[in-house]
Symmetry: C2
Subunit: 161 residues, 2 copies
């Protein structure tokens, strides 16, 4: 579906300080995840970049949301989450953003794997059994293999699974 | 001792991106604390700004140390900690730094209280019983009043208490 589509870079306006701030904060609090849902006869994948905080800290998430101009803010019992889940936003904003303003801690390793996953999904690889398996094999390396934990978090926040 | 001394601002060279990155990362991972030690006949206070991470993430702490040009890196069993404990470094670097590159999340409230504490200590208020009590009353508002937790962390990292 997307395979021949050009990737536009919808990056925020040049603001070096705010860019550093968003990268620095994401280095500590951000999470790149690939969520797997089982449908009736197939598996659905959805990649996401998210930051979850205690509710009283929602202001910073609105700032980040307004800066990146994509993603949504969700509330659960105690937490507030900023999540970018649309593949087009991940490919056109989040990935070019962290390429331009790179993380300089261990989370950059997760970002590199996340990038591979998103590009594979963008090219439509998730639609074949072999492609899906290749994507899931990269996912096993994400967040120290803690994808089950991510699924549980996902369930908590969005009640999707 | 310090009361008549001028405060020099020893701020890092102008690098907006790195400044944003250090502030953003500190918003997530940084901690402002005031540690209390009981000596034989008096109470000793030491203020500190610290960032504690898992050992594999030590690289970012060296980057921050080199950028701010103050503080030290400590290792414990599983963690690595960057800590600025010298009052002169807190007053001349850390406080002007976060005044110039402000945190925009709830941690800014801790910073404001930490600043009051450091200035009071800088003016020598900690040397009188009344001044000490005033400083400790501000400390009770720091980190949601979780100063006992800070003390336990301190003990773990530095074996000081």
């Amino acid at each position: 579906m997307h395979s021949n589509r050009e990737i536009l870079e919808r990056l925020p306006k040049n603001d070096e300080y705010m860019s550093g701030l968003v990268t620095g904060f994401s280095m500590g609090e951000g999470c790149f995840a690939l969520c797997k849902r089982k449908g009736k006869d197939k598996i659905y994948l959805s990649a996401e970049f998210r930051i979850s905080l205690k509710k009283e800290d929602k202001f910073i998430l609105y700032k980040i949301r307004n800066f990146l101009k994509c993603g949504r803010i969700y509330f659960s019992n105690k937490a507030v989450t900023f999540a970018v889940t649309k593949l087009i936003d991940l490919v056109e904003v989040i990935i070019p953003y962290f390429d331009n303003y790179p993380m300089i801690n261990v989370k950059k390793n997760d970002f590199e794997k996340f990038k591979i996953i998103c590009y594979k999904m963008w090219k439509g690889e998730g639609k074949t059994k072999e492609g899906l398996e290749r994507i899931l094999s990269v996912r096993e390396l994400l967040n120290n293999g803690g994808y089950n934990r991510s699924l549980i978090m996902e369930e908590e926040y969005f009640g999707l699974l």
